[in-house]
């Protein structure tokens, strides 16, 4: 089902597939009958969807179709008007504070603009959540921070830079390292490759693919970038006018007869991205 993945950055000796599975908590995220309205403007009209453990789900849709809002509702930053969002089996809005705090430590979020703490250097951006746990000594934290920076290919000499001194690609990578610093099982990515040049965007995709394979992450990502979508996503959920048109693997989604999907995958750009998948039946178009 998964499309061909780019080879991981580093030589892998381990076979990720043989790893003992974590506690099965299927689905990791369950969205039930979700309605969202802002000042009379309806964003979601009764969404139902599930995200399974270990998969990479891509949310696509036109601008204003409520992708980012949905992502923000999944992490509890916004409240749905009706319906519920359950993560790890808990409705965040109703769960007791202690449970919510635990759940928040099990996920990592990569915001669209990185959302690095601008007053802190790179190193402290990563160390902050670890220090907040009050569980580790400073030199242990140091080792963990350097490890995560190494995993996203940020050199040590850049650790004392301020976020404003980083290039766009580095901001994304540092933000990813920060999202990974608490060893999350679930990762939310909002436009992970937006604003990166094709080269950087490709290496970011490679990085994500290798991390995902190695760490057994469940990933929910919002993206506009077809290349990212095709090379990373196991399943795609297509939002249009507040409704879920379809959800499935890329070849499945492409076959759905809908104007938005024709538009999204149909253009020359779309065809080029899809050509990676081989002769997918595009006969419907």
């Amino acid at each position: 089902m998964a499309p061909t993945r780019p080879a991981p950055g580093r030589a892998t000796a381990g076979k990720p597939a043989t790893r003992a599975p974590r506690t099965p908590e299927r689905p990791v995220i369950a969205v039930k009958g979700l309605w969202t309205e802002f000042d009379g403007h309806v964003v979601h009209r009764g969404l139902d969807m599930e995200v399974d453990a270990g998969e990479i789900l891509a949310l696509v849709g036109g601008s204003g179709s409520g992708k980012t809002t949905l992502l923000r509702q999944m992490v509890g930053l916004e409240r749905p008007s009706r319906g519920s969002v359950e993560v790890f089996g808990f409705n965040l809005r109703q769960a007791p504070t202690a449970i919510r705090a635990k759940i928040r430590k099990r996920w990592g979020v990569l915001f669209q603009e990185g959302a690095l703490y601008s007053a802190l250097p790179v190193y402290d951006n990563l160390a902050l959540p670890l220090r907040e746990l009050r569980a580790f000594d400073e030199d242990f934290i140091r080792d963990l921070v350097l490890l995560k920076l190494d995993m996203v290919d940020i050199e040590r000499r850049h650790a004392d830079r301020m976020p404003s001194e980083l290039s766009g690609g580095m901001v994304k990578r540092v933000a990813l390292a920060r999202a990974l610093v608490l060893e999350p099982e679930l990762l939310f990515l909002d436009e992970p490759t937006a604003g990166l040049d094709p080269d950087r965007s490709e290496s970011f995709v490679t990085l994500l693919a290798s991390l995902r394979e190695r760490l057994e992450l469940t990933v929910v990502m919002v993206t506009h970038d077809l290349d990212t979508l095709v090379s990373l996503a196991d399943r795609v959920a297509v939002l249009f006018m507040g409704e879920l048109i379809t959800m499935g693997t890329v070849p499945e989604v492409v076959r759905v007869d809908h104007p938005f999907i024709h538009n999204f995958f149909g253009g020359e750009r779309g065809q080029r991205a899809l050509s990676v998948l081989g002769p997918v039946a595009l006969a419907g178009n």
Binding site: R10, G14, L146, L147, E183
Partner: protein
């Protein structure tokens, strides 16, 4: 954490036994991930410290592993793989990552005894630099002003009126309140002293000169520095950080004329107006207190005031107001243009701007006091 979800995951454990050949085998089992280790990292680290890389290690009993657990073991092994190590293939990658991250040093800041001296020097040079830049900015504003005089149709009139409204009209309530209270206080205090000498009537001289010449302008300026100075710094700072200033420049819209000139001119107009207003309200407060404390009627106060206080004091106060207003705006713009793109710099820059503006106002005020000591102070009454 004993997870709330029903699981078969066990707590992290360490077992050791010594085999017949004398080698010690360390068996590690249970959950070795951040959530299990969060509460026990320190205990486990000291337990692990009893063993070393030369022992045989068996990690096959580990049910969950992540980088935190792997790092605990890695540190116990003195940052290298033990020679005798049994582990699941899937656990391999954590140690690979750790091995890959080894080496290289962080840049460590060096300290020296001369640092305080160097810091002091930097501060002095910094203050000097600020001063030079403010003067340069003033020059730029003067040139921009001359350009607007030559091209009046393209002047930033809308921005100017917005500044006067925001910094002037909207400051009326707060300046009135502060002026009124200061008027009462000043009048009461002097009344007490003057009554001892039977010179109660001179309260009008003291209060009149004090408020019109000194307190009115300074109070208005300090309030404007706090209200509008900080706002201007924050506004320009955010515009700089979000590259709005660059956007203006590339569109051919001169930021100096659109943003800085109207602020400087606007404050130079608004502050004198505020001075008149503050003077008036403060005098009403003083009049009230004089009547209550010394029985000086409103009529007597009003009749004596023009005689006791030469008009030159009023003009001096207005000129001071205009100068203070322009200086506050210049200082605020200067600090706003130097905000760096991080939240701390914005906060620090705004604070610096207000402190510098108030300091500059007081320094310039004392210069005025010395330079104009012979004007408007001749004794009358």
């Amino acid at each position: 954490m004993a997870d709330s979800a029903p699981t078969r995951i066990h707590d992290p454990e360490i077992d050791a036994d010594t085999g017949a050949d004398g080698t010690r085998t360390v068996r590690v089992s249970g959950a070795w991930d951040i959530r299990a280790l969060e509460s026990r990292a320190r205990t486990l680290a000291s337990e692990l410290a009893r063993f070393a890389a030369r022992d045989a290690w068996d990690l096959t009993g580990i049910e969950r592993l992540d980088h935190v657990g792997a790092l605990l073991l890695w540190r116990a092994w003195e940052r290298k793989r033990p020679e005798r190590l049994r582990l699941e293939p899937a656990q391999e990658l954590f140690f690979e990552n750790l091995a890959h991250a080894e080496g290289g040093e962080l840049a460590v800041p060096r300290w020296s005894l001369l640092d305080p001296l160097a810091a002091l020097g930097r501060r002095v040079i910094g203050v000097w630099g600020h001063l030079l830049r403010i003067i340069r900015l003033a020059g730029q504003v003067a040139l921009d002003g001359a350009w607007v005089v030559a091209n009046p149709s393209r002047g930033p009139w809308r921005e100017l009126s917005a500044t006067i409204r925001r910094a002037g009209a909207q400051a009326l309530p707060v300046t009135a309140l502060v002026g009124f209270l200061i008027g009462i206080v000043l009048s009461y205090l002097s009344a007490e002293q003057l009554r001892t000498f039977g010179a109660g009537i001179y309260v009008i001289n003291i209060v009149g000169i004090g408020i019109i010449r000194e307190l009115g302008p300074v109070l208005a300026a300090i309030l404007v520095a706090g209200r509008s100075g900080s706002a201007i710094t924050a506004q320009l700072g955010v515009m700089r950080v979000t590259e709005e200033l660059d956007a203006l420049r590339v569109m051919g819209i001169p930021a100096g004329i659109r943003l800085i000139l109207p602020k400087v001119v606007g404050l130079a107009i608004a502050v004198p107006l505020l001075v008149v207003w503050t003077d008036a309200i403060a005098l009403i407060g003083a009049m009230l207190a004089a009547r209550l404390e010394l029985d000086i009627s409103f009529t007597l106060f009003m009749q004596t005031l023009p005689v006791a206080v030469p008009t030159s004091n009023l003009w001096l106060g207005l000129v001071k107001g205009a100068v203070f207003g322009a200086l506050i705006a210049l200082t605020a713009c200067h600090f706003g243009l130097r905000i760096r793109p991080n939240t701390e710099s914005l906060g620090a820059g705004t604070t610096q701007s207000v402190v510098a503006a108030i300091t500059i106002v007081l320094i310039v005020d004392s210069m005025f006091a010395i330079a104009f000591s012979h004007i408007g102070l001749e004794l009358r009454g």
